[in-house]
């Protein structure tokens, strides 16, 4: 089986390098080790979403039983999205779980992840806090996602409101990422975020 996995990944790698998405720069794929069991993916944040302009790194682990089992993928770049854990980067996407099919490829998976960034699915969340904000306060959600994209994924859109609130907590001696998570989780309510961290 391991033989099939390596053979398929090699061929997929070759195919994906010729694909228009790679040529157009919207997805990338790179090798991590010699034996094709781990790869590094990269997807561009889709246009007209809070993720626009960001570059999101993915860890791709190919199981020995590939393609009979799906590749294990998680976000290495921190992202604010209802279907991605803001803590671990774990992804909730059906095709990476029970809806996996052996004919799917790394290319189709990366494109599906890109589509997931365009259309979050809050009813099947990976991160309950994000999903709640997505449903109940779409304006704040978009702002938070854009801010995270700017800070972690190299997105061009600076969100000054967020930056100044994070800075205020930094001044209190709080770790930057911790501050950002707390503020994001409490809808940028400085008082509640601080209370949570010190309480």
């Amino acid at each position: 089986m391991a033989n099939i996995a390596a053979k398929r990944i090699k061929r997929e790698f070759k195919e994906i390098m010729k694909s228009e998405e790679v040529i157009g720069g919207s997805i990338k794929l790179g090798l991590v080790n010699e034996n094709w069991t781990e790869l590094k993916g990269e997807i561009a944040g889709p246009v007209d979403t809070p993720y626009e302009g960001g570059t999101f790194l993915l860890e791709i682990k190919v199981p020995e039983t590939y393609p009979f089992n799906p590749p294990k993928i998680r976000f290495l770049t921190k992202i604010w999205h209802p279907n991605v854990s803001s803590v671990t980067g774990a992804i909730c996407l059906d095709i990476l779980k029970d809806q996996w099919a052996a004919a799917l490829t790394l290319r189709t998976v990366l494109l599906s992840l890109q589509a997931l960034l365009s259309a979050g699915e809050p009813n099947d969340p990976q991160d309950a806090v994000v999903a709640k904000q997505f449903r109940e306060n779409p304006r704040l959600f978009t702002m938070t996602a854009r801010h995270w994209t700017n800070v972690y994924a190299g997105g061009p859109n600076i969100v000054h409101e967020c930056n100044s609130k994070v800075q205020r907590m930094l001044d209190m001696g709080i770790d930057e990422h911790q501050a950002r998570v707390a503020l994001s989780s409490y809808d940028w309510d400085l008082e509640r975020a601080t209370e949570q961290l010190f309480g």
């Binding site: 398929r8 393609p67 004919a103």
Partner: protein, 316 residues
């Protein structure tokens, strides 16, 4: 699992690629409704995990898989591929459908069995020939066979022990039966029955004999020389002990039935001899004419438990 695509000459059409292993379809099967085709090994493995088509996720079970259409098979069989043994030096380029036959004969197959020409006569895979050492191989063979031989010898000794044990028990039982028979009429009948069956079993174990020269019959044999030798032979052939003495008595014309008891009657009844069912006394020019084999013969030609006829020659 499909064939490595690099082995093929020119481009291979996408339709001939297995979506699971991404090799060229090997022994392909297709899903019934959507007609997506896969290598047999690949789709079987997938369906064992999930009963769906790997391309479109329609429900498919193993029993619904069908052979692919002839046109697809023809396209596949026309593809030109290098031999599996190309890394070992085979330069052959073959149509995919003639590959299996070629592989059987391919001289570059590193595992092709070759007889050792140095004299040991063993057949060994070609790639092991270089390291092959007749003496070492044969020594190993001797060692394993010696081991087996020892096992068998041990088993034989054990079996002998068991048989002796059984023989002893049997002798005891017979003794017991004999003692019981005297006192109990049912036992007597039972014992008689068992004895009769023992005789029949013994009779069936003996080879049929044919007398070619009835004139060679010795009707008054020498007790010591001939009769003792016959007795030993009978005893070794498994003759039941309760009839052996009677049989030995019946070697001589003085104990033969009326139809055989004198030269004159013997000459008169000569044509009846052919009716006898004769059994060979192993290793001797003599036959047994047992009563149990010859129930069809007239009473004046037969006695219980049977006759022994010794001949000068003419037994087959």
């Amino acid at each position: 699992m499909g064939f490595e695509i690099k082995r093929f000459q020119g481009d291979v059409d996408e339709e001939l690629i297995c979506p699971i292993c991404s090799g060229v379809l090997e022994d392909p099967l297709q899903a019934p409704a959507c007609e997506h085709a896969f290598c047999r090994a690949c789709i079987t493995e997938w369906i064992s995990r999930q009963p769906t088509c790997p391309v479109d996720r329609q429900t498919v079970t193993a029993s619904q898989l069908r052979p692919v259409p002839r046109i697809l098979r023809n396209l596949l069989s026309r593809l030109c591929t290098s031999c599996d043994n190309a890394p070992h030096g085979c330069n052959a380029i073959l149509k995919l459908d003639s590959l299996p036959n070629h592989l059987v004969e391919c001289e570059f197959n590193p595992k092709r069995p070759i007889p050792c020409e140095a004299g040991c006569g063993l057949v060994i895979p070609k790639d092991e020939l270089a390291q092959h050492n007749c003496v070492r191989e044969l020594r190993a063979l001797i060692a394993t066979q010696q081991g087996k031989l020892n096992d068998y010898q041990q088993e034989l000794a054990e079996q002998r022990l068991v048989i002796n044990e059984h023989k002893r028990e049997l002798a005891l039982l017979k003794e017991f039966m004999r003692a019981m028979r005297v006192s109990n009429p049912t036992m007597r009948a039972l014992a008689d029955q068992m004895e009769r069956e023992e005789v029949v079993r013994w009779a069936n174990s003996l080879a049929r004999a044919r007398v070619t020269r009835w004139g060679g019959m010795i009707s008054t044999p020498d007790d010591v020389l001939q009769v003792m030798m016959i007795k030993r032979s009978l005893s070794e052939s498994g003759c039941p002990p309760h009839i052996i003495d009677d049989l030995m008595e019946n070697c001589h014309e003085r104990r033969w039935p009326p139809g055989l008891s004198s030269l004159e009657t013997r000459q008169n009844n000569r044509r009846l001899y052919e009716k006898y069912v004769c059994k060979r006394v192993p290793g001797k020019q003599a036959v047994l004419v047992l009563h149990c084999d010859n129930t069809h013969v007239d009473e004046h030609m037969m006695v219980e438990p049977g006759l022994v006829m010794i001949f000068a020659h003419g037994i087959e």
